[in-house]
């Protein structure tokens, strides 16, 4: 990463494009209000540990007010509005997100720690595209395969994670609104700022008050929200552990639920794969967004005969990854989102050492402040190792080998998860055979980590239920 004679000059994106207020309230009924009991918490930049803003912590009274505002907006405005008009609001939002994309990208990178080139080229454009796509569905619901006259569910409680704050917001809010629901959304505790800026977008779009409500807070706020008796739909993206607690909490109710949870994806490389492309895919699969991706390709399964060549190329490629200031346009690997997550990555990596796997990272200087972890691979990993079984949610790749396609499938499917998988081979019939045999909701063949609003995404087994994206994602908000 350094000393190559080709050192990059710093190329930081300017922070001045975005105004961060010193304190934020809750967005309820179309305006910012102070929390009932006046509590706030701080959100910090994980790259520098600098405090960015104080954010309101919503308590039961605030959640109640937000749900009531959403219910009012549902009954009096949004569910009565013709689909073509709902569509126009969503198109407005899509356009505003695109117009203010630099602002959002910088804010997202500051609050989350992800490289600016990811927030600029992936997160923000994808969020805009998601609204644009679902806007078009709003007046075509009778063609969505849900019967001739599908109806919205009512008020949706949506809880999203910190790894793609704005993109997850878009995945949740766009289909809900297109189908005629109103929402109360809780962003993650460590990344609330882009959702609060989105509230500003709702005002700018003149979205009717109460159609979108944003309540910030930690786990307790989320629990309060999904447990609220006047909520008709719960949508959650996050850990499998919390997903299970939500599934228990809604038992016996009439609430509809979709859960998009953890994963331990196998990325399978056959010996006939184009190695350079596969290496790019592996790097994208596990080091994109610092590995904070539920569908990250965190288990690399390499055909034995290709193992040495692939590892040599992979290590060479990893040595060129640039870790550092997330606002720098040349940065490939940004900061770990929180001290807590960093501790979890350290813990599981240490377990990898203790269980006998061999750790390797390129020579890599970590910044003095903030939360950082170098891109890391473990070789000599077996299926019994915890680093091959548990979701690390960081830039840590476990490498295993296989000999036959059947063994690859056996190992890939040997997990309680089932969110995604990757296959690299030049042989078409083998791709389709593997795609058929892998128990995962998304299979990327000769590519990895592709997302699109038109493409259904979601998991098998303990990776959750329901799909987001496409016509299937719309079904989660209709009856």
């Amino acid at each position: 990463m350094s000393g190559s004679g080709f050192d990059y000059a710093p190329a930081p994106e300017s922070r001045s494009v975005v105004d961060i207020k010193s304190a934020y309230g809750l967005f309820i009924g179309g305006e910012f209000v102070e929390p009932h009991d006046g509590r706030h918490f701080k959100t910090v930049s994980p790259a520098s540990e600098e405090v960015l803003a104080e954010v309101a912590e919503a308590g039961p009274a605030d959640v109640d007010a937000a749900v009531a505002a959403a219910r009012r907006a549902y009954e009096r405005v949004w569910s009565l509005m013709p689909g073509r008009d709902r569509a126009k609001y969503l198109y407005r939002i899509a356009r505003i997100l695109a117009e203010r994309s630099r602002e959002f990208a910088v804010l997202e990178t500051l609050d989350n720690g992800k490289p600016i080139k990811e927030s600029r080229d992936v997160d923000v454009p994808m969020a805009s595209a998601w609204f644009f796509y679902y806007a078009g569905w709003a007046d075509k619901l009778s063609y969505a395969g849900q019967g001739p006259d599908p109806r919205p569910l009512g008020v949706a409680a949506q809880v999203i994670p910190w790894n793609f704050p704005l993109m997850m917001l878009a995945w949740k809010i766009a289909p809900a609104l297109a189908a005629g629901n109103t929402v109360v959304l809780k962003p993650a505790e460590t990344t609330p700022l882009s959702a609060l800026l989105f509230a500003d977008v709702c005002q700018q779009a003149e979205l009717p008050a109460g159609v979108v409500n944003i309540v910030t807070g930690a786990g307790a706020t989320g629990q309060e929200l999904v447990g609220h008796p006047d909520v008709d739909k719960v949508a959650f993206t996050g850990s499998t552990e919390v997903g299970k607690s939500i599934a228990r909490a809604v038992a016996g109710s009439t609430k509809r639920v979709t859960l998009e949870l953890g994963g331990k994806a196998a990325n399978i490389v056959f010996d006939d794969a184009p190695i350079d492309q596969a290496v790019e895919g592996i790097v994208n699969g596990i080091f994109f967004n610092q590995g904070h991706v539920c569908c990250a390709g965190s288990r690399l399964l390499v055909q034995e005969s290709a193992n040495d060549e692939l590892l040599t190329s992979l290590k060479r490629r990893m040595a060129t990854l640039r870790l550092g200031d997330p606002l720098d346009k040349n940065t490939d690997v940004g900061a770990i989102n929180s001290a807590e997550q960093l501790a979890r990555i350290h813990e599981l990596s240490d377990v990898g050492d203790a269980e006998g796997a061999q750790r390797w990272s390129p020579a890599c200087e970590l910044p003095e402040h903030g939360y950082w972890f170098p891109p890391t691979i473990f070789t000599g990993v077996t299926q019994a190792h915890r680093i091959a079984r548990e979701e690390i949610f960081g830039p840590v790749l476990s490498v295993l080998t296989f000999r036959t396609p059947a063994e690859a499938v056996e190992k890939a499917n040997n997990t309680p998860y089932g969110l995604s998988a990757g296959v690299w081979t030049e042989k078409g019939s083998r791709i389709l055979w593997m795609a058929d045999a892998l128990r995962a909701g998304v299979v990327w063949a000769n590519t990895f980590n592709r997302f699109d609003p038109a493409s259904p995404f979601g998991g098998y087994q303990e990776s959750g239920y329901g799909r987001e994206g496409g016509r299937h994602g719309l079904a989660a908000y209709l009856r």
Binding site: P416, I431, T447, P456
Partner: protein
Amino acid sequence: MNDPTATGPARVEVRKTYKLFVGGGFPRSESGRTYAALDAKGGFVANMAKASRKDARDAVVAARKAFPDWSGRTPYNRGQVLYRVAEMLEGRREQFVAQVRAGEGVSERAAAAAVDAAVDRWVWYAGWADKLAQVTGSANAVAGPYFDFSLPEPTGIVAVLAPQASSLLGLVGVLAPAIVAGNTVVVVSSYARPVPAVTLAEVLATSDVPGGVVNVLTGDAAEVGPWLASHMDVNAIDLAGADPELARTLEEAAADNLKRVLRPAGTDWAAEPGIERMVALLEIKTVWHPIGV
């Protein structure tokens, strides 16, 4: 001694003790327990095996074993197998009518209507086998040079608590949608009206449905249900036959491995079903591949 040729009292009937249907065979309950099934007027009908925790677990093992073959069949083949079930059921029409009538205490005409509808239901579902992919799948127009499509796949092992009142039609209404797409099933029959479930098991055993695709446990859903709901190798649970309180506790237990849960919904089993039940037991898989030369 009685003269066998003389006109004597009515023939003494052979009283039956039915067994479970697991992995294509008819084992007794491992627990050795039985209970008496009564008709709607309280008269004795037959002894039934009372399934235990061990029976439930054995049935899940059988269902898991049957899953690769059944889910790997072509939809065309599964459709034919389901259609054959309809044929076999129709062949036993009179027997089913008598059993439904006795168990549910309905008129001859109502029982016949339920049996006819059950036969028709198998025919209806048989036809879905090779249409689900087109109706529930999609080609996805993504913004990039990728071929991207989504297809349905079976969820896996489905535990089913069959409706308590509608002993045949309700049973078929939960069974057929589960297996048509390639799932395999462990079903707990109606407790008070279990006989049509056992006769249906006899139909399945002599049809082309492979052993283990449908496993029938007679017994108490409240006793067996919790073991199925918490079983880590069961992928989905249909709570049609559970009362609200039982349904709540089983849905809670099902969260341990995030089973797909179908809540009881007061379904009218005589009405045309719609595809919701099938769709709820499907997973959508999306496959991406780059387009290039």
